[in-house]
Amino acid sequence: MRKFDTKVQHLKYKVLREVARHAWKGTLFENMTDIPKQIVPGNVPTMRCCVYKERAILSERVKLAIGGDTSNPNVIEVIEIACDECPVGGYEVTDACRGCLAHRCEDVCRRGAISFDHQQKAHIDKTKCVECGACAKVCPYTAIMNYKRPCENACKVKAISMSETKAAQIDNNKCISCGACVYQCPFGAISDKSFILNVIDLIQKSRNNTEYKVYAVVAPSISSQFTYAKLGQVISGIKALGFYTVVEAALGADMVADAESRELVEKGVLTSSCCPAFVDYIEKQFPQLKDYISHNLSPMATIARYIKGKEPSAKIVFIGPCTAKKMEFQKPTVRPYIDIAMTFEELQALFDSRDLDITSMEEDVLDNASYFGRIFARCGGLADAVQEGLKEHGHEDFELHAVSCDGIEECRAALLKLSKKVGNTNFIEGMACIGGCIGGAGCLTHGEKNKAEVDKYGKEAYEKTIADAISVLK
């Protein structure tokens, strides 16, 4: 069964798995330097020019798997030697140009950047070109290509540029740690730091949950992951790793939807605060709009605060699709509630580091939240939940004009409008990843059916309303 979208993810997983395997046994320190050779044995290279470069890069991946560069506050890091220094030419005319008569490229170019040689073949004047891409769109032979680095292309907040050594570099003042570049770099040269060693340590020191209990809070997007097994088996697997129990972050989402709908009525205009990359984006690019950000903690932090309120000694690990959550849990406002954040990718590595075959396990249950809490995992779900919250609080007269932003570019457009007071939008649901959390960089797979899976999981919830789901918490 295929577990990952790409071979890059698979390679990263192998490193995490081997690091974890040694960590459980307490043999990591003496074996750490052998891991690259273990993954790339023999003399025949399969990925790079030679096995020595492959192993050198793998050593860097091991470093990221054990926490990465501690002097860099960002959880997203470039592995400089893994960066292939892709060309950065922008739009260029290729040999496919046939020197046609129509010259649509010339007509559509508003900058007059296109000229033709004696064979009628097109050329782009780089001093005039603004990289709009209009010429590429109209060429009947698709002869104009955009030679842009996949990482730069993926980074819609323009935090990635080329360093003096031609490797990619990340501007931490712009980066929102969404992980889009991590997922898109075809060489796996950008990666998220892992805190799985801390997770293993936390579990081991709990002495079978007797010293303290270790809770796993899982994001609702889990319903679209681990498709080779049943969700109940994934829950059994998490417990088999040594977690005391598993709680849905979606219950935190129910709490957020309840509070956020009240806050919206009070304030009149609001943006969501669930997606840490979106919140970070507002703080970095639209600081003047900070006051509009909902004061609610994210669903992850909200449910964790509840658990620790009842049991202060509890330790809580968030498991989700998101690399930005690895930044969020370190914020002073969240740190008291969440001990560590990890991804589904890392969960898979942990399962296999202990040779747990979850497909042969009995199905456990996971049911704390309502339909509305669960659909937070996909774009549009949050706005639906806030609408439901308004209804349940009897604020049906409040006219909700919500915009659900699918990806950071749509977030930018909505925030620009809000900053200029254009339109009547009074609630902005911001999701940095396309599709919402199910498009997160820490997902194992990003399938077309993922949204349907989340909706199905939502409908299976025992509780049908937000009020019912959260009534047990009072």
Binding site: I235, Y244, V247, V365, D367, N368, Y462, D468, V472, L473
Partner: protein
């Protein structure tokens, strides 16, 4: 007195919300709001016998049907006389 109801997944599916609601009602009806602290927890480690409830540390197996009876047997006597 402290009553804790398990609201973990397994107990939730067996009706912990109904148990909580009924307990809230009974506590209010008997005027014990200031004397009984009702709490929730995620998992007491005995999922098979859910809904798990503890009354001052004593572990009980409750269902929405038996909650009234258990309240009369285990809670009310502590406050009578």
């Amino acid at each position: 007195m402290k009553i804790t109801v398990c609201i973990g997944s397994s107990c939730h599916l067996k009706g912990s919300r109904q148990v909580v609601e009924e307990l809230q009602r009974l506590i209010a009806e008997n005027g014990l709001k200031d004397r009984v602290e009702l709490n929730g927890t995620f998992c007491m480690g005995d999922c098979r016998n859910g809904v798990c409830v503890t009354v001052d540390g004593e572990k009980l197996s409750v269902s929405p049907e038996t909650v009234g009876e258990i309240f009369r047997e285990k809670v009310l006597p502590a406050f009578s006389g």
